[in-house]
Symmetry: none
DNA sequence: AATGAATGAGATTTCATTCAT
DNA sequence: TATGAATGAAATCTCATTCAT
């Protein structure tokens, strides 16, 4: 029998934190509320996390790993065609947001206090995309005048912004429409036109 | 202490709030600090604003009006060519962000508590852009398969996201590069390619 | 022409204070609100009253004078019969409360902060009643074993308590019923039985 | 500081609140002072009561229960004679006020902000007394022209008013005198005359 | 006399964190 | 490890009063 209570408390705290952060936003959630929602004593909270930001950080790391894994899997499944890779990567991101809306909103949303947070979170995805753009430019498949760093940033800002907007109210669009729009506006999608 | 000149206090509070919000983010600024920075009693703060969110809202309204005015002026000065209009509008936005970085970050940044705030702020710009895209589609200048609403949203998310990223550290790019990138990735820029 | 503005402000302040105190109770009314209701600057408030308690005190003095005058007039109109005098005095008190419910509630109600306030307000009425009871005892018209001081106090507590209770919701009884009840329970009403 | 024994804090807060409310009156006591007097952190105050009114309400409930219990016990001990019952009930009330002067003053005194509070507190005692009067009327022991509801109210206003006045300065009378006065002026005492 | 913006002491309330059990 | 009562620094907000105009 696996330890029944042990990791239980930690997982319940993470789940409670996730749903509360998504619902109310970082600064409007307090550690006591998280513990209560997790049906755990407040002392237990501090046995597992040094403070509430640590819990948030862990949620973010899990989300980032999840998005990355989804993209990697999509790229591996897409074969060598760049267009298919772009579409696959986008479908992966949209799919992840649809499957884990709270995690997506908490990680990428506008909730964090303090400036300069968005950047780092996105940076990790920007680098591989910039490299991909450079490769495509060298093969003449993307406008060579586009700065690949800036293009990557710009695209990711767009993707994140759209998905957050969509998650506010999913009736705003079908996932397929989102994918179409993002594909069409993707820097690597342009050359096709 | 003698009472300062009439509307002085209110303006000083707005200025103090702006710089503090930009520096530390909404939730890490308190009314006492704003009042102190404005060299005004805490009571004066509450004579002018019911709470710190009201001050923020006023700053946002001023910023939105500023961006809109800059865009309108640019469009009027750009003549009838759609490409020139797109570029002009983008230059106006970049110019505004460069001239009022704190106001831009406070208004569009990721600081507000509670979800669903970004949307409304951006919505007002999304509508005219969607209309422009529709017009260009009917004239065959923009890919007709692009959903104009989603395209407008996507572009604005990109523009805002890039400018916020840039304002975190302006050494990251020259304003001209930003304009080039945004022009190239603009939904209406595509058909020109 | 009498000074038009002069006493105007003071009277409007008193009226505003009366209605606000009656509505919300002493401690939940502030001087700025009174001034606003009186359509007068807050500065004007302090030109007329040293503080908000002074305004209250003036209202109370006016009310006490009003009740006393009503009772005196009733006694004078009642002729020499003690029973008629008792009934007349009670009718005067009930009539005053009915005519000036706010003033009555503010003056006699349970609103004042700090203990020991009720006593003084009532004391002034207790003395003449105690004297009357003594006179009636010496004439054998009131039970001689009743302590006239305590009897007077007790009756007045009853009268005030009933009228406040009635003013909370006047549908609770007809004024005539109140008078009957108070007459029957009056220390001097007893001998009649 | 080591945490004091379990429910200790709550009881100390109630005791501190009682003595402070009695001393200064509701509106002149603040939560900090109560906590300090109870030798407890301010946070502990808010762990136990949502605000100071909640503490007051609990004190009132305890007092009302105490008075009721004292009256019930007295009635049970008084036997079937109505006169003895009346006297017993009055002795119980006077005894309770003498034994718990602070609780009595806080519960029945004129301190509460907002109107309409006294009524409800007294209502609960008014009903049984009204019923008793009705019974006595049907047996011809009380003047049938007296409205039993109003009579009950009137008597209770008298009792409460006298006891509050007495508690302001106990030298004003002996408890025995109070009882005598109240017995003589009781609606059910009258028929004896 | 009238005005009302400005003031700041003080009251209320929140919440991250500790620690004895 | 788990618990949760206790804590107090810090934030929000009120309001009586002043004073330059």
């Amino acid at each position: 029998m696996p330890r029944p209570k042990l990791e239980d408390a930690r997982d319940r705290l993470l789940a409670a934190g996730l749903s509360l952060f998504a619902q109310r936003g970082m600064e409007r959630v307090n550690s006591n509320t998280i513990a209560k929602r997790a049906k755990v004593g407040i002392g237990t909270f501090y046995n597992h996390f040094p403070d509430k930001y640590a819990l948030l950080r862990e949620l973010e790391l899990r989300t980032l790993a999840g998005v990355r894994a989804a993209r990697v899997a999509a790229l591996e499944g897409a074969g060598p065609d760049p267009a298919a890779q772009v579409r696959g990567s986008i479908e992966a991101a949209v799919g992840f947001a649809a499957a884990h809306p709270e995690a997506y909103r908490v990680t990428f949303g506008r909730e964090r206090a303090g400036a300069g947070h968005h950047g780092p979170v996105v940076t990790e995805s920007a680098r591989p995309l910039a490299n991909a753009l450079r490769r495509l430019q060298s093969r003449g498949r993307v406008d060579p005048r586009l700065d690949p760093e800036l293009g990557a940033r710009a695209y990711l800002a767009m993707e994140v912004g759209m998905l957050l907007w969509w998650l506010e109210d999913r009736k705003r669009a079908e996932p397929g429409q989102l994918v179409e729009t993002l594909v069409r506006l993707h820097p690597a999608g342009r050359a096709a036109a």
